[in-house]
């Protein structure tokens, strides 16, 4: 993988091989400090940094030897172009970091200075430096993607959301309501894919896009399957599946597009949380919608009030013209 990344950026074979070696040595040296599962992304960042530093060196080299004939072949074909674009993106992304962030990152990644000695220099702890490095890497990933896409985020919320996704910080993601933003913002939805791909194989959360009838069944089955891992009784699993079915149908009927996130909880008790959000028209009269027997389509008028009765906690947020978010939780009975 490292070879692929480096090869995409550096044309001549021997140099690429050297860079791959260098990257691997650094990654291996850093392995004990890196969270398990993060090694791959760490290697990617390191590889990019190694390549970037090579370019900087070459640049300097070229400036100093301007009288020597430049024998480097012109990079004309597509690979060269892609590499060039990626290089520019890395450079731009680096430029968007603050000076301090950049210095620390480069000292760590390129010069191989460890977090403890860095901490000593700036009067901090190794842990704090490591945390800062993680944040910086998260930012670098976001800025790199933005630069590669040559896009400027359309809203003020984009960067915080992308940053929260990039750092894999779930609490922060909730604070900035990342999931809703991804539904609303095409750019972030697109950029979030590579961000979410890296890192986590999160197995305590399932996201199901809701668009057509068949998604209702998929959502309730996924919810049942996930919840069954917590040891819910079969009865409770059916209640959860039924509630998910109702809220999913509301999305299909009224909004046309949305997403259901099912998530296992540890705190304060074990349970399962279902968040159903859509970008629909919103609900004008929530009280009416929560009243039994109120129905705007050919249903029983039981959708929302029914789902509420099936779960332990139920909250609904809605904004006209923007959409609705239903959050409901079922706690596991401790026996």
């Amino acid at each position: 993988m490292v070879r692929r990344i480096v090869a995409a950026r550096v044309q001549d074979g021997p140099t690429a091989d050297d860079l791959v070696q260098e990257t691997l040595v650094r990654v291996l040296a850093a392995a004990p400090r890196v969270e398990p599962g993060m090694l791959e992304s760490y290697a990617i960042v390191t590889a990019r940094n190694v390549v970037a530093s090579l370019w900087r060196e070459r640049d300097r080299h070229r400036r100093n030897q301007h009288r020597v004939v430049d024998l480097l072949p012109e990079q004309t074909h597509d690979d060269g172009l892609v590499a060039q674009e990626e290089q520019n993106a890395v450079v731009q992304a680096l430029a968007r970091l603050s000076e301090r962030e950049r210095d620390t990152l480069l000292a760590h990644e390129v010069s191989g200075q460890d977090t403890r000695s860095l901490a000593g220099e700036i009067g901090s702890t190794a842990g704090a430096v490591a945390a800062q490095l993680n944040r910086t890497r998260a930012r670098l990933r976001v800025e790199y993607l933005l630069a590669l896409d040559q896009a400027e985020p359309p809203t003020e919320r984009c960067r915080p959301v992308l940053l929260a996704l990039s750092s894999g910080d779930r609490r922060r993601q909730r604070e900035v309501d990342a999931a809703r933003h991804l539904l609303e913002c095409d750019l972030c939805a697109r950029l979030s894919e590579p961000l979410m791909e890296r890192g986590q194989a999160r197995d305590d959360e399932i996201r199901i896009p809701i668009h057509v009838d068949a998604d209702i069944v998929a959502a309730r089955q996924a919810a049942r399957e996930l919840a069954s891992r917590l040891g819910f009784s079969k009865t409770d699993l059916t209640l959860i599946a039924t509630a998910v079915s109702e809220v999913a149908r509301n999305i299909v009927r009224f909004a046309g597009l949305g997403e259901i996130v099912v998530e296992l909880l540890d705190q304060p008790r074990r349970g399962v949380r279902v968040v159903a959000m859509d970008t629909g028209p919103g609900i004008a009269d929530v009280e009416q919608a929560l009243a039994d027997g109120y129905s705007t389509y050919q249903g029983l008028g039981l959708g929302l009030p029914g789902a509420r009765r099936l779960m332990d906690e139920f909250a609904i947020m809605t904004e006209i013209g923007r959409g609705t978010t239903v959050t409901m939780t079922k706690w596991r009975e401790e026996r």
């Binding site: 069944v217 059916t238 149908r249 050919q298 039981l302 029914g306 099936l310």
Partner: protein, 140 residues
């Protein structure tokens, strides 16, 4: 059957239709099932319909409503409908959801369903079909 190979089967037995739902159906499939069943009631001049929902993981408001609609349409077409095989958990969820299903006859299983239809269609019988429970049950 017209609904495709595995989702639903509608079998004809004498003057009865026995419809078994084999897997979770989405709303569109549920509506198609309704159309197929009601059409076959007419085609086979059926007097009784049994819908076996034992394989359904969930009977939510739409599913329950569709079953009610089928029963009502069947009644208007001259057939008695019985729902059988609602699982205990599904039943509990339906009650918790607040569903009223009182107007539809529900019975424990296929056997009870056949017995019920026999007693009903015999009482209103014009065909003089004998209500032989053992025969109905034993037939393929």
């Amino acid at each position: 059957m017209t609904t495709g190979p595995k989702l639903v089967s509608i079998l004809r037995q004498g003057s009865y239709l026995i419809a078994s739902i084999h897997t979770a159906l989405d709303d569109t499939q549920m509506v198609r099932f309704q159309e197929d069943l009601v059409e076959q009631i007419g085609r086979y001049r059926s007097r009784g319909v049994i819908i076996d929902v034992a394989a359904l993981d969930v009977l939510d408001s739409f599913g329950a409503r569709t079953l009610r609609t089928i029963a009502e349409m069947a009644r208007l077409r001259g057939a008695v409908t019985v729902i059988v095989g609602i699982q205990p958990d599904v039943a509990f969820a339906m009650v918790s959801l607040g569903m009223a299903t009182g107007s539809v006859v529900t019975l424990l299983d296929l056997e009870e369903g056949l017995a019920f239809l026999d007693s009903r269609t015999q009482r209103n019988a014009t065909s003089g079909r004998p209500a032989l429970r053992t025969l109905s049950r034993g037939a393929p």
